[in-house]
């Protein structure tokens, strides 16, 4: 009894530094956000003291059509980018995992986007998207005839898809590397056993590779979804949420409210809502996928 509690005390003492960091860096700011969300706190303090205003920020937020548009845009972005990005990551991982010539060269090339800051990537794509004669429009003119062009990021009907493609390209190598590690974890014997059982290559994928990647898939689905819900940099540089709110995301909205219009209390309410929503989605995904596998 006393031995146990002593060793427990020791364990707690060893955890302490990490706990302090967590409290200082995560818990305190988060608690502050919750507090601010119930006040009319401004970015630059005014002579009038900050007041507690109850749920006013939340009520105003739920009344703002732009807030709902930001949610819809964010959800749409996640629904589009997650399957698309995971599919190209898995495809690239399968190719790089096969015994192709110059595999290590291709591997190095494939992870290049990871080495570039997002701002640089966006700058590159801004050139690609340029009108009327950027590279993408040059390609488009091959099919549509000269003189035609698409305003990829300026047109509400293509802006979101353009952001999706850019974002997937910018970060797919991360998922690809994790898929590669997952593929290499699948024992070679299983593929050989499947060959002996008469499985064709797509059946080996269906019955060996895909189930073997189950945990990797769950992990990547959650991580990629959270990443997608945080979409900001691309939008902020490229479209500022436009055109006409077509690419305003929650974080973009939060940023506008917190900095551009200085309403920190209001932005905190958005942040708290965002945090709760992301946590709920991640928990639901986990729950759902776990049960499905266990059954």
């Amino acid at each position: 009894m006393s031995i146990k509690s002593r060793s427990q005390r020791q364990e707690l003492a060893m955890l302490l530094p990490a706990v302090i960091f967590l409290i200082a860096l995560i818990v305190v700011p988060f608690a502050l956000s919750i507090w601010f969300s119930f006040t009319d706190q401004r970015l630059v303090p005014r002579p009038i003291p900050t007041k507690v205003i109850g749920f006013t920020n939340y009520l105003r937020m739920f009344d703002d059509p732009l807030f709902w548009q930001a949610i819809w845009n964010t959800v749409l972005f996640a629904l589009l980018v997650v399957p698309f990005q995971l599919a190209i990551s898995l495809g690239a991982a399968l190719i790089l995992n096969a015994a192709i010539p110059f595999r290590s060269v291709f591997r190095a090339i494939a992870i290049l986007p990871l080495l570039l800051p997002m701002t640089v990537i966006v700058a590159i794509w801004a050139v690609l998207f340029r009108i009327p004669n950027g590279p993408l429009n040059a390609a488009y003119q091959w099919f549509a005839g000269s003189g035609n062009y698409v305003d990829w990021i300026g047109n509400p009907s293509t802006a979101m898809v353009s952001i999706v493609v850019l974002s997937a390209w910018a970060t797919f190598p991360y998922q690809m590397l994790i898929y590669l590690a997952g593929l290499q974890d699948i024992p070679q014997d299983l593929y050989e056993a499947a060959k002996l059982d008469g499985a064709k290559s797509w059946q080996r994928f269906r019955y060996v590779t895909w189930p073997g990647l189950r945990n990797v898939n769950i992990f990547l689905l959650i991580i990629t979804t959270i990443g997608a819900l945080k979409l900001f940099t691309q939008v902020n540089i490229l479209t500022k949420g436009g055109p006409n709110g077509a690419t305003t995301t929650i974080i973009q909205y939060l940023f506008q409210q917190g900095y551009a219009t200085q309403k920190v209390g209001y932005a905190s309410a958005v942040a708290v809502f965002f945090f709760l929503a992301v946590t709920a989605i991640a928990l639901l995904q986990r729950r759902f996928l776990k049960n499905e596998g266990e059954a």
Partner: protein, 333 residues
Amino acid sequence: MADVRFSSVRKGYGAVEVIPELDLTIEDGSFTVLVGPSGCGKSTLLRMIAGLEEVTAGTITIGGEDVTHRDPSERGIAMVFQSYALYPHMTVADNIGFGLKLSGLPKDEVAKRVADAAAILQLDKLLERKPRQLSGGQRQRVAIGRAIVRKPKVFLFDEPLSNLDAALRAQMRVELAELHTRIGATMVYVTHDQVEAMTMADRIVVLNGGRIEQAGAPMDLYRAPATPFVAGFIGSPRMNFLEGQAAKALGGDLVGIRPEHLDISAASGLWQGRLRHAEHLGSETLSYVDVEGVGSMTVKTEGEVSVAPNQLVYLSPREGQLHVFNAGKRTSI
């Protein structure tokens, strides 16, 4: 008819020649064990029969049909892997029936054949479990079950028992031998363990560096090993070897004598030595004797032997039990 025939088969990985030209016939219905030290090419041979490894040159026939370039699933073979290679997310029943399902057999027929195989292997109660919920021995049975449902002409085993503990290994040896008697199909079994080879095989092929040292019935290999390698590999404890003057005196450049064919005596004998250590196993005694001009010799004697360490003893080979080799070949009959 399902004999397996290698004709002038060679196998190399890049510039490394693993199997130099090899000819071998594995008789229909036999239990043939390929045995040899690690890295001698046993698995490579087995995997070439299975079609998991391409031959570099030569042909392989199964039951008279050239299968050299056929898909693994179209060779009429089944294989049991050392790791068992069970599909981790499938139940035991699905593991066993997977190949049948892929071949398009109707569901109820698959279920029936899975149930039959499960009955033979006492897996009936485990059919709905996943592999991770099974013990090593049970996994082994599932792997064998997966092989027998396919009714193959040839079974291939790659060190299937090496992940089991000693007691289970002994039990599975018996079960596999009984399975062979019951099914009667050709079985090719790879192991580095000469005990497994001696106990299970009706024919042993001893491999060394990708070459066949000797092939024959277990007792023939024991009685008349063709090369010093086979002499040293088959039999436990290992055969004693005499070189130099001591060997020359007996008519060879190398002479072998098995520990169980030496008599130990305190009075007289061919070689004189000093007992270094004795192991008493009850049913037998192993004596380690330092013989002058020969080196250390092991003697295996039935029952108890009362000898003390450092005691002066005499050793004599039994009549007709010397294995005489000249230039790496057996010259005694």
